[in-house]
Amino acid sequence: MRSNALLFAIPLLPLAGAVWNAVFGRRLARETVAFVGCGVVGIAFALALVAFVGVAGGRGDVVHVAPGFSWIVAGNFAIEVRLLFDNLSSVMTLVVTGVSFLIHVYSVGYMAHDAGFARYFTYLNLFVFAMLMLVLGDSLPVMFVGWEGVGLCSYLLIGFWFEDDAKASAGKKAFITNRVGDAGFLLAIFYIGWVFAQAAPDRSFSLSYGELKANAAALAPHATVIALLLFVGAIGKSAQLPLYFWLPDAMAGPTPVSALIHAATMVTAGVYMVARLGFLYALSPVASSVVAGVGAVTAFFAATIAVTQTDIKKVLAFSTVSQLGFMFLGVGVMAYSAGIFHLMTHAFFKACLFLGAGSVIHAMSGEQDIRKMGGLWSKVPRTAKTFFVATLAIAGLPFLSGWVSKDEILDAAFHSTLPGAKIFFGVALATAGLTAFYMFRLFFIVFTGKPSHEAEHAHESPPSMTVPLIVLAALSVVGGGFFPGLLPIGKFLGEAHPPSFSESLPPMLMALGVGAAGFFVAYKLYWGGPSPTALRLATAWEKVATASREQWYVDHALGRFVPRVVMVTGFMLWRLVDFFLIDVVILGGASAFAHGIGHLARLAQNGQVQRYATTFIIGIAVLLLFFLRCRS
């Protein structure tokens, strides 16, 4: 364990950049804004690299507690702001700062003509800060700061072009859906606090990971509930079933944002959290099995939707949901290093795909419908080639990064002894075939065949956009070689199944087979644009195709119907309970009653002196009689 205050510079630099651009950005030249925005992330990446070399070189983890700074101290909580730079978080930090830097650079070109240039870089820097707090924070509450912070930035960036009500609504949907998950996360923290309070009433807790791990025995009887509550948070943040439906809508944001937040980094936070708390999930086979199962089912579910989408970004969005499912399958079967490894390679190739899509959209002057594209290979050569490389990587061409990492996950699932693992393996295998199919379908429709009318005037993007593409494509190719470097993560987390390349030919061959099949079908149906067979099939299976395009109506039910029910409930309660029952019936009744009494009393006071005198005399008589009776 080492302590180094410089650790705080990694997240605080992007924060400083955000503040700078928020305060001065509107008055500064775009070059300055871009320079500051990219620069702070670049320096953070360099710092992370230096720290990583220290950790990987065996010099031990770095933990730093903000000096003289306790955050929430009350009752039995003494929550500090601590950062932890160990095997796991160092990899995450490198991925986050590295990919962020490339996407910041790309954004300079992509957003060059946008009126909200400074605002964009403010949000983007703020996002990097929040994501780094999430990754580096050394306790559940500090992680939660980043966890909600990235949600906020996601909200702001999805609705970046806020004048479009649909885009603003997409941002709101993302934030509220994420909050459903966050509620689970919070309840897990409360639950842990409760367990600790019962076990040791007189102590204070910071809820740091080390503390949780040291007290795993106290948590063990409650591990299933706690792990599942935390997983609710992961489901929301990482767009898994049943809370996945915000992610496709989130494509309303600028494309670099989709690449950074909604593909490479933020949505993988759930995977990171499960891996980080692996010791907790290891205590509960049930919870682990649920994680793996939800991952496998979501992977397949999203892939079946991706095959019919016609919006280039939507295909990639569902692909992301599907790939996140793979990662959860990995960490669910306790292959944490494989899950994190796939997280990393996915960050490379999916960022490359999204940025490629952005370049295509840029070239097509904003068009996102793939049916209007075609033959772009020669029009945007650099984009096309990098897109091709990334497609090969995600489809699982041997020795490319995606193949290595996906294979590790399938292998771990194949060998896992968790309940249901064999079924999950089968589902994931089918998904691998679908993945190759929908990715090549996308690639062939967009890039092969004769250029469509709209694609006639397409032009390649500037270097600030293509250079990051090339870097990411290169990483997609060689990323698989980083795996041995990740193995210490597994050791650190006490992995159940130490991964290896050699022992399992069967799952590897099966995966290769389905991948090849997927490619072949896509080639037959979509090379040079949709073939007559493809169109005939689409007509014949129209109902199924529509259902798939409509996300099997899950979004209709959960993403649209449920909020409406809540709104209507609120309205009904307001009119029926608040207004009618309480104000009209009860208060109105009480007021009418008081009025009635007043009315009766008024009858007596009618102003006739004779009546008063009569009443007075009668009263005196009654009283006299009463007292006389008492005497006798």
Binding site: I176, D182, D578
Partner: protein, 579 residues
Amino acid sequence: MNPFTPAYLSAPNSPLLSVLVFLPLIGAALLMLFPRNETRTIRGFALVVSLIVLAVSLVLIVRYAPAAGSVFAFKQRIDWLPVVGAVYHLGVDGVALSLVVLTTLLTPIVILAAFSQITDRVREYMISMLVLEAGMLGALCALDLVVFFIFWELMLVPMYFLIGVWGGDRRHYAAVKFVLFTVAGSVLMLLAMLYLYFETGARSFDLAVLLGKDAIAPGKQWLPFLAFALAFAIKVPMVPVHTWLPDAHTEAPTGGSVILAGVLLKMGVYGFYRFAMPLMPDAARAAAPALAALAVVGVVYGALLAMAQRDLKKLVAYSSVSHLGFVMLGLVALEPKAVTGAALQMINHGLSTGALFLIVGLLYERTHTRKLSDYGGLFKVTPAIAVVFLITVLSSAALPGMNGFVGEFLILSGSFASTGIPAIQAWTGVATIGVVLGAAYLLIAYQRTMFGPVNEKVASLRDLAPREIVYMAPLLVLFFAIGVFPRPVLSRLEPSVKVFTALVEKRSRIVAAATPGSTVRLGAPSVVPPRPTLQVQPIPTPNLAAPNLLQRVPRPTFAPAQPPSPITRPPSPKAEERR
């Protein structure tokens, strides 16, 4: 069990609180001498008075150092009406002091906001505001039931005028509704005070005397507790006695809404904290499950109704019902974290909802409409207002790093670990839904006003003026300051909170009977002579934890380095008892 230790009682009287309370009254009296059309001078004078009061309160917070064994400071205790046993007894603990500063901060802000918003009867408006401030400060400082009651009623009058004179179209209905609800509660409270006066045998209204005696028999606590509880629940307001609030808030002028939400609602919670729960501990603990249930219902119900509103101000009003539900849940959970969170959340809600009402006021002043459908696209038209609104929304939605999060986090985590309420974990779970719904209604409001295409009706609004920035800025700074560095506030609240929970738990006979070896002896002969004179001798109390606020109590953090931790063994029966 009495925080009014001999050290406290023998401490010299301090005039500071009286200065604080009566300064605004003197200011109001002087304002009457001003010619009514000298509006500039009147505004300036009112602002200066409120700023002086703020300065005095800041002196208090700096010099706050309670006597040994107590958490109260700045005591002033003078025999006032010996015939009835009323004592002019002022004093503040950490919780009261925080609310005092909240009050003295919000008052100059609303006075500054009124510079442009109130153009009719300016002098009377400022007088009302200053009298209102005096009433609030007096009620917060009062440690005698009669004194409290007088100030409690004093708050009512200016608020009635604020709504009824400077309010919106339905102001008369709203003002009368507000007064009827509050007075209904006050009458009950008065009866309960008399009941306590006789039933305790103390023949005194002084809290130091009442708390010095054993609590009255549990069976007899119900009547006064219910009366107090109803009076305070109306003020909070808790569902179902909340319907005066949306009307009052909506019709009141901006300043009235800010003060109403910022401070007046807290008087209900504060009443539970200061009087109802410590004086009737058994009834309070027995009623805690019901109160917690009502609080949670309020959280969800208020949020659902907020979502249905088309009037921006009404939406904010219903959000108060939801937020105060959180506060009440934390208070009745009687767990140190939860109660500390509740105390902090009172401040937070005052700042956040105060700011929300100020923003509604900013918009209303420019457009004269509160309908959400009349807005849209303001992020483009008035970016500064939009940013201020966004930060306030995030504070109110309890985003980590902002003040609201610290409060909600402590309330919910504390109530989750509460031991006095059956199935509290489930209730806390339901309350957590309020966190989701809270984000929903706030973002709905934000989107309808700030996002979307620019509504023609608001296409030419002017952005923030310097004066408006001046009065919004302190609130925004505090959002972040409390969110990132809540320690100075928490460390002033927590010792008082611990005394409060100990008071309720130790004075309660239910627990005393169930816990062998409890420090509270049952049926202890009354030490207090029957007549309330100056020779009151309170029962010496066992030393309470952390009496000195300014001294930081080092906390043992849980060392992760020692794996065979004592935490691993099952909780011993002894530990159970202690809890």
